[in-house]
């Protein structure tokens, strides 16, 4: 019964298909694309831009290194060095496009999968592993990178992003016209997250206060085992229209398009034009996390179909076809990726374990006597064993 057709509805306006267009497996006609899966450069009436060879090579490098971080971390999990790992395989273009469109003064609120964005924010990839290794709940300093800690409770960070953007408004760093001053926030979330009350409330607050926040949804088609159709029966970016701000669907496997759209959306926010919803239409090529088994719920056909749209391969083809990168370039990046892999492997294994007593740190900015007493009690308890063993 949940699959009843959405039919004609006389009196209530046109059929949904007329309004929103047919739901298309490949993103539909509304998809903003600048580089096809075949590596062909195409143009778009609203979002377009010239890219220098350097820029494209830069994107390529970012994506390759991000993928290496991902595959290396997946391997580390398989070898028992990480408890779990949230893979981004297939989402490199979405993340590098979004990450590179940022200015230093912008601020990012990630989910648990934004390893590519972290890379763009200068977070040492080793620091991403702390959480997944069980060493801590977040290793980097958000203020140092303007990149918040990973948030696991689905959607919670979209409200933080909106509040942070409201803070920026109050700090007078929105709409001044000074490019080094004007700032915006990116709220990351997934297709599944779009169903959470918090995310929809974030839309409402952002619209109500016209806050400088870009809602960047990586629609990777899956929320663990649930397909996007469970969360929305129309293209997700259109959700924004109902809240009174623009939404756009971009090919999330196309780094050029994602970059261009995000740059425009961020500029809009920095200029004081308010929120935008950007849906990066992509695909989760791997499992939800290393503990997931997607063969239980999706067809390998689908995965094969999306392999043809690989975000890195198309840039490689483009660079090669236009002679913008030679074998040395590719070799250098492979070497860099290999080195990064080694650094990750060794760094992960060398990561010091937390100490039991660390458990009591930072519960409060101003520790309470009662917690201090609990800490002291446990320290004494632990010491009693040392005595026993000595």
């Amino acid at each position: 019964m949940s699959n009843q057709p959405i039919g004609e509805t006389p009196g209530f306006g046109p059929d949904l298909v007329e309004v929103f267009g047919p739901s298309q497996r490949d993103g539909g006609p509304e998809l903003v694309q600048l580089l096809t899966p075949e590596g062909e450069r195409v143009h778009h009436p609203d979002f377009d831009r010239d890219f220098s060879a350097d820029e494209v090579r830069g994107f390529y490098r970012d994506m390759v290194l991000t993928r290496r971080i991902d595959t290396e971390s997946t391997a580390l999990q398989r070898h028992g060095e990480l408890g779990i790992w949230a893979q981004l395989l297939g989402q490199e273009a979405a993340q590098i496009g979004a990450g590179r469109a940022l200015r230093p003064q912008d601020y990012v609120f990630p989910t648990y999968r934004e390893h590519g964005v972290a890379w763009c924010r200068g977070v040492d990839p080793l620091k991403l592993l702390g959480l997944f290794r069980g060493v801590d709940h977040g290793s980097w300093d958000p203020a140092e990178h303007n990149f918040g800690l990973y948030t696991i409770v689905i959607g919670a960070q979209t409200l933080h992003a909106t509040g942070y953007a409201m803070g920026m408004q109050r700090d007078g760093v929105v709409g001044t016209g000074d490019p080094d001053r004007d700032a915006a926030v990116v709220a990351h979330f997934g297709d599944g997250a779009s169903s959470q009350g918090d995310v929809n409330e974030a839309f409402i607050f952002a619209a109500s206060y016209n806050a400088p926040v870009v809602f960047f949804c990586q629609n990777n088609q899956w929320a663990i085992s649930e397909p996007i159709e469970r969360q929305s029966r129309i293209p997700l970016y259109q959700r924004a229209l109902g809240f009174g701000f623009p939404g756009v669907r971009v090919d999330g496997n196309d780094v050029l398009a994602t970059y261009t759209v995000m740059q425009a959306a961020l500029q809009r926010a920095r200029d004081g034009q308010g929120p935008t919803f950007v849906e990066a239409y992509t695909y989760r090529m791997g499992a939800h996390t290393t503990t997931d088994d997607p063969t239980r719920y999706r067809l390998s056909d689908d995965v094969e179909h999306w392999k043809l749209k690989d975000p890195i391969a198309r840039v490689e083809v483009y660079l090669k076809r236009h002679g913008l990168a030679d074998a040395d370039f590719f070799a250098a990046i492979t070497a860099e990726a290999d080195a990064l892999g080694v650094r990750l492997r060794e760094g992960c294994k060398a990561m010091p374990d937390p100490q039991p007593m660390d458990m009591f740190e930072h519960v409060y900015a101003e520790e309470t006597d009662e917690l201090a007493a609990q800490r002291a009690g446990y320290a004494a308890y632990l010491a009693s064993f040392e005595g026993a063993h000595s």
């Binding site: 801590d136 709940h137 977040g138 300093d141 958000p142 203020a143 918040g148 800690l149 409770v153 919670a156 979209t158 409200l159 933080h160 992003a161 909106t162 509040g163 942070y164 953007a165 409201m166 803070g167 920026m168 408004q169 109050r170 700090d171 009350g197 918090d198 409330e201 974030a202 409402i204 607050f205 109500s208 740190e361 930072h362 519960v363 409060y364 900015a365 101003e366 309470t368 006597d369 009662e370 917690l371």
Partner: protein, 331 residues
Amino acid sequence: MSTTLATQRITLAKGLNMGLRKAMEDDPKVLLMGEDVGKLGGVFRITDGLQKDFGEDRVVDSPLAESGIVGTAVGMALRGYRPVVEIQFDGFVYPAYDQIVCQVAKMSYRSKGRSPMPMVIRIPFGGGIGAVEHHSESPEAQFAHTPGLKVVACSNPVDGYWMIQQAIASDDPVIFLEPKRQYHADKADLDTSVQPAPLFTSRVVRQGSDVTVLAYGPTVKTALKAAEAAAGEGRSLEVIDLRTLSPLDMAPVLESVRRTGRVVVTHEAHVNLGMGAELAARITEHCFYALEAPVLRVGGFDTPYPASRIEEDFLPDLDRVLDAVDRSMGF
């Protein structure tokens, strides 16, 4: 008591309003958020006049969504602001519960102290105002159970004035409980030149020797009335206004219990797993040999808050406190 120049006679509502105003004057990063806190001044008028004087950017009427209010306040705090959130009534804090216990409470811990959460969440709490469902709840135990939060309750106008400022000045998130039944009830003299006690301390508000009565928020008045009545019967009750629920300030409590050997705890929250449970457990652990009777609890019954025509039967009152005192003495 002589009224000096610095002294004013104020209600709890006024004390809170003045305290908020002072905090906003002292620190431009302080801002208020909530439903109807602007032009209306809040349904209880606690923020009366503040939007007029501090503007819409600092006294922010929020869309009708508690999770959104607390969640955006988290973002504000991360940006360096000190948001003071008003939850309109106790029963409406629950849509924000996730943000409070998973985000507000854990942000300092998660970030290793890099992202403290200097936020105050004000909650008018408790019953006795003849209201409809959800307007008379006492949710304190649920917050006190959550590490990372601090929880305080004021009981009188002077504390209202000082404690709200201290809570705002605290770098930790504070759940700030205001006994709504007291907002406009009694007046007290506020002398702003007198230094207040630290925020996270309890206070002996009446000395006595037979039984220690522990109370906070709305039941402090009940306890004091009970002590007055008991005195008439020759019984001496010591009353402690706990003020802070997490952390608990056990020192004055234990000191008192060691003298009296008997304790009655009273709160409006349900008895089962209410603050009284924790107090009973700790007191018994620390004063095992000093106790002449088990810690007795007088609280809201373990039913949902009833229709208001019978709410006074649900709520602890003078007689029920005295009954517990009797039972304690009879042990």
